[in-house]
Symmetry: C2
Subunit: 352 residues, 2 copies
């Protein structure tokens, strides 16, 4: 599978092909979803991951259901949507995408479109969502490339990233890792530093897998090595994703992001957040209002079921931290680069 075609989610003729992300990077299998039940199970069992990919699987899952029906009935269409949404009840993006697909199918049904037409339109709707995200990601990658050229000219760079933000999560280019992948296509990546991203090791397992697939040179490091690398001038710029960005530019992202940002600031290394506008929540004035989800102890005290820490040891295991906007050189979205040091710049760019 060539680079341009490598995608974790692909619709093919009348079925969906999904990269089984559960055993990456050791085992790289694809599963075929031919029914709505297959799509449901793929979401529920975490064959697919990443908010965008889960949403796309929901849309295509609805298409699979439509295909299986002799006649489309509104009530059954709605029930099929509810069924898909119940595969992962906390996935907001899944709800959003499935609801839109059901509404769209229903409006076509009211408009007396044929089953075959509705089926094809929902497949196209899935394709359109991926294309739309891809365009946004490409825009962000272009803004980032421009910015890097401004700072460093044309020399190949050593870029660092945290967690996983590439095509595995997004279905296409990706956010922070999309920036890196795009810069590599321009021939300007010397090497990527992948931090392992404890406790779930998304860096080691997923980001390293993506970079391997894209043949981009990389090395994995422990998170504690951040100061060592930057002190020894081995990092030119850092790109991370975001779970939520609030009005003043404070950014919630995978635990460790804020720690990395402080080390970067200390050494004067440019630190960028890359995220689409859908990750912005300008209803919150600053990061103190972001609630942080706490995760179970055994993610830290155990490894794949093997006990590592003492019996009964407790942890504090926040899934996210909040990076202060003063540590961020720029927030790159599809509308441009936000400079959080300028107080109102975020709201201006978001509303542009």
């Amino acid at each position: 599978m060539s680079l341009a075609q490598y995608r974790p989610i692909v619709w093919e003729a009348d079925h969906l092909i999904l990269l089984d992300q559960r055993y990456l990077p050791v085992k790289e299998d694809f599963i075929t979803a031919k029914t709505i039940e297959d799509a449901f199970t793929a979401i529920k069992d975490m064959v697919v991951r990443g908010a965008p990919c889960i949403g796309f699987t929901g849309i295509y899952g609805l298409a699979l259901w439509i295909k299986s029906q002799d006649t489309l009935v509104k009530q059954e269409l709605i029930a099929a949507g509810e069924y898909l949404k119940s595969s992962r009840p906390t996935a907001v993006n899944l709800m959003y995408e499935v609801d839109r697909a059901v509404d769209y199918a229903n409006s076509m049904l009211q408009g007396k479109k044929s089953k075959e037409e509705i089926y094809k339109s929902i497949i196209q709707f899935g394709h359109d969502q991926i294309t739309s995200l891809e365009k946004k990601n490409q825009k962000m990658a272009d803004y980032a490339a421009e910015e890097l050229k401004k700072i460093y000219g044309d020399r190949p760079l050593r870029l660092m990233t945290h967690c996983n933000t590439g095509f595995l999560a997004c279905g296409c280019i990706g956010t922070a890792l999309g920036v890196i992948s795009n810069y590599n296509k321009l021939g300007k990546v010397e090497q990527v530093w992948v931090d392992e991203t404890r406790p779930y090791l998304q860096g080691t397992r997923l980001t390293a897998f993506e970079l391997t697939k894209e043949k981009i040179p990389f090395k994995i490091v422990v998170e504690g090595a951040a100061s060592y690398l930057m002190k020894n001038k081995k990092v030119d710029a850092i790109f991370v994703g975001a779970d939520r960005i609030v009005a003043n530019g404070d950014t919630a992202n995978k635990i460790g992001t804020s720690t990395l940002s402080i080390v970067a600031k200390h050494y004067g290394i440019p630190f960028f957040v890359v995220a689409p506008l859908s990750s912005f929540d300008t209803s919150l004035p600053d990061g103190t209002h972001i609630e942080i989800e706490m995760r179970p102890d055994d993610e830290i005290t155990h490894f794949r079921g093997q006990q590592v820490g003492p019996y009964g040891a407790q942890t504090e295991n926040p899934s996210f931290d909040v990076t202060d906007h003063t540590m961020i050189t720029g927030i790159i979205c599809e509308n441009g680069i936000i400079r959080p040091e300028n107080k109102n710049h975020l709201l201006e760019v978001v509303k542009a």
Copy 2:
């Protein structure tokens, strides 16, 4: 075994009892060394770890050999020492302690002391080395307690540490963890933050074990959580050990120490290095002269033999980093507290 008695290395009547540290914290076994071969194997197979403990095992190993002899012969005594030293040829402290014990035994032999007298004197020599280290560690713990009282008064504190620096490594109190243990005995530790210390997890495996044994409340965190904890005002002070401290106060210690120190400085959290004078190397002017050992990829790409990263993935895996002296609030040694911001203070205190 009560707290006061819990030691990884104990001489009992005519044999040595060693805590088998290889399977901590999941399995807590003790092994009995009755011969020099037992002591040799315990060092070689890493039943004991930590430079001080390895040195003590060398001394007691020599005592075990003396006990086994009918008549002491100088050449055989020297050969016994060489044999012990070959158990871990890179352990500088083992060389130092065994050489001293052999010289001491030899001088007694020249002085016509009986085998029994020499045997008892070497055992006592081992005890004395432990007691001497214990006194130094206690002094450091006392200086630290004074300092903490100056900053925070009597309120119980949340203290953070990195890697393992307690009785498991030192045979007695310990350095950074000794400070914490001592402060807990004064009733003034509310909670300890143990960072897991990737890639070898000394925090999760060893420090958490020691704190469990001493019944000091603790929680394990990933290293990336440093900023989260400090931003949320959950850390009052940080104590770490040192592998090497050079003339200007720059300090080599387990990878991650420098990263932690920068986050501490950013949030204004006091950051202390605790190390005996034997860790100082004032022949080097600053940290740029410290050579950093690089470790194999599989410490990061694998976990207990299980592959985690992609096949063939490379890492950069330095065992140490260098913490800049400007990030260190104080270096606590048996002569007092060095303030690295005062340019010549280190040399003054070391030479005091």
